[in-house]
């Protein structure tokens, strides 16, 4: 029995610059383990410890994801070992080719009980890779998962449903995207980072053809409304409040 966590090495678009023509420059955005993926790794670690089994990370992407820094960043957060598929064709790949490569990596791991993933990636943020992966594996997928436990051979999953929650039982394996607040991820210390360098990593060549990717035929900036950015100083909070109220009344929005 094995717990697998899919995670992404990705840049944060908050640090990107967008040229007037809409071309995105991510060269100053340093990649990292995507914002919410450490939560999935933490949930995975607790499950694997509770079940007394191994926690295997799987990650797919461009060649940079196989670099020692990327491997250690993920391994130091509590994985036992890592399987990566690093290939130029997966750089900036969409949800479907990414999921196809992930399915290949998951297929190399024996006796998988559950695949965990983060809420969504910091760069694409599509919330789609887990469900496409589940579709490829023929397993169910559930998102916004707050808690997972085992009941015999079944998984008992608590997930958000509307503004409340729901408990679901899955017989057999599943792909679960954990909620952003499902756990507080540990902070890797020096010892964890040193130990991470010694953990096993399997690098798989990308097998087979990837599904066709759309061709980019145009780029544009986002047409943002011109906003006034009128500065209101609050040295005198009451005067500032009166100034804002007057301005909003003049705008006709109060």
């Amino acid at each position: 029995m094995t717990v697998v966590v899919a995670h992404k090495w990705a840049p944060n678009p908050q640090e990107a610059t967008v040229a007037p023509g809409g071309t995105v420059d991510l060269s100053r955005a340093k990649p990292a383990v995507s914002e919410y993926d450490p939560v999935a790794i933490e949930v995975g670690r607790r499950l694997a410890d509770a079940w007394g089994c191994e926690l295997v990370g799987v990650s797919v992407g461009g060649p940079e994801i196989a670099a020692p820094m990327a491997r250690k960043a993920a391994l130091s957060r509590g994985l036992d070992r890592l399987v990566v598929v690093a290939d130029e064709r997966l750089s900036g790949a969409g949800a479907t080719p990414t999921a196809v490569a992930l399915a290949q990596a998951v297929g190399e791991v024996e006796d998988v009980r559950v695949v965990l993933a983060g809420d969504s990636s910091v760069d694409e943020g599509a919330h789609l890779v887990p469900s496409v992966l589940a579709g490829l594996l023929g397993w169910p997928s559930l998102a916004e998962v707050a808690d997972v436990t085992a009941d015999g051979g079944a998984l008992v999953v608590e997930r958000a449903q509307g503004s409340g929650s729901q408990v679901v039982r899955v017989d057999g394996p599943a792909v679960l995207a954990v909620a952003a607040d499902a756990a507080v991820p540990r902070v890797a210390g020096m010892k964890d980072i040193l130990a991470a360098g010694k953990k096993p990593v399997v690098e798989l060549p990308l097998a087979g053809e990837l599904p066709a990717q759309p061709e980019v035929v145009g780029r544009a900036p986002v047409p943002l409304a011109e906003r006034g950015r009128r500065r209101i100083d609050t040295t005198d909070p009451d005067a500032a409040a009166r100034e804002l109220v007057a301005a909003l009344r003049a705008d006709g929005v109060l």
Partner: protein
């Protein structure tokens, strides 16, 4: 000619239907849910309405493979699903079966024969890209409201096998429901708010303003000061109020994409260089703890 497929798991699919109609292709809906959902979908202006039967104690996600089989069999061109977890589970399986691209953020879709042109916002909404797909494509878009009923087409029942998932227990929320989408004025709080008790301050301002209270994601997920259906942004709500007052929210792009369509935006922040200060109409530089009571008082006088 290809068919535009609509995946229906909840009543709010008017947004999908609008997109579908603009494509001018035959439309078909595949419905996962109770018969009444299928019956109302059949009156929503689709050419065909396929229903997978009563779901019993299986959640929507249990029908992902069944939905994928139905769509794959129906000459799919564009496949549309709403931006909800359950609908994403279904459309993900469709993309897997068709080995088709699955995308979010579409602002425009056109078809030309089997080619689909999608203009969409990428990387959380920092830029736009137009992409050409030669074959089917799955799009996740805002579901929108409940469609207006019109003439009905027959509901065609299809036998479907559910994956091995069952609902064991529902735990509805006791939090009051707030109509954020319909609110003309919204006051939103971010991590600048230090404690849950301090929400009282915000509530008083909201009351004086006649506004609904929303928040940034960490306030709902993390500190848990407000329910999850109150946060605004790329993973949360998209709102278009007349006025949006952001208190102690830094204004990262994942948040601001949710209120780009707002009328007037006011940002209150101690940090004059916070990103929100560049995406607002009024940049109030100061401490929300002193400014909010002053604003509530000014509104009442």
């Amino acid at each position: 000619m290809t068919t535009t497929w609509i995946i229906v798991d909840e009543p709010g699919v008017a947004g999908l239907l609008d997109t579908a109609r603009n494509l001018g292709r035959p439309t078909a809906a595949v419905v996962v849910g109770p018969h009444e959902l299928a019956a109302s979908t059949a009156t929503a202006g689709v050419d065909r309405c396929l229903w997978l039967g009563e779901t019993g104690d299986a959640p929507v996600e249990a029908f992902a493979t069944a939905v994928a089989a139905v769509v794959a069999d129906g000459a799919p061109g564009v496949v549309l699903a709403a931006a909800r977890p359950s609908a994403r589970a279904l459309v993900g399986a469709v993309a897997a079966t068709l080995r088709a691209p699955a995308m979010v953020g579409a602002v425009g879709v056109e078809t030309d024969g089997d080619t689909v042109l999608v203009e969409r916002e990428v990387l959380g909404g920092i830029a736009r890209r137009t992409e050409r797909c030669d074959g089917p494509v799955c799009l996740v878009v805002d579901g929108g409201g409940v469609p207006e009923p019109g003439a009905a087409v027959p509901v065609e029942e299809v036998t479907a096998e559910a994956l091995a998932v069952r609902v064991v227990e529902n735990r509805p929320s006791s939090a009051p429901q707030v109509d954020l989408a319909g609110a003309r004025r919204v006051v939103a709080v971010g991590r600048g708010l230090k404690a849950k008790e301090d929400l009282a301050l915000v509530d008083r301002l909201a009351e004086a303003m006649g506004a609904a209270v929303a928040c940034s994601r960490p306030v709902a997920e993390g500190s848990g000061f407000l329910p999850k259906d109150r946060y605004v942004g790329v993973s949360g709500r998209t709102l278009t109020p007349d006025v949006y007052l952001a208190l102690g929210i830094s204004g990262q792009v994942q948040h601001t994409v949710g209120i780009r369509g707002a009328g007037t935006i006011v940002a209150v922040n101690t940090d004059a260089d916070a990103p929100f200060m560049k995406e607002c109409d009024y940049a109030v530089v100061g401490d929300l703890y002193t400014f909010v009571p002053a604003l509530a008082a000014a509104l009442q006088s």
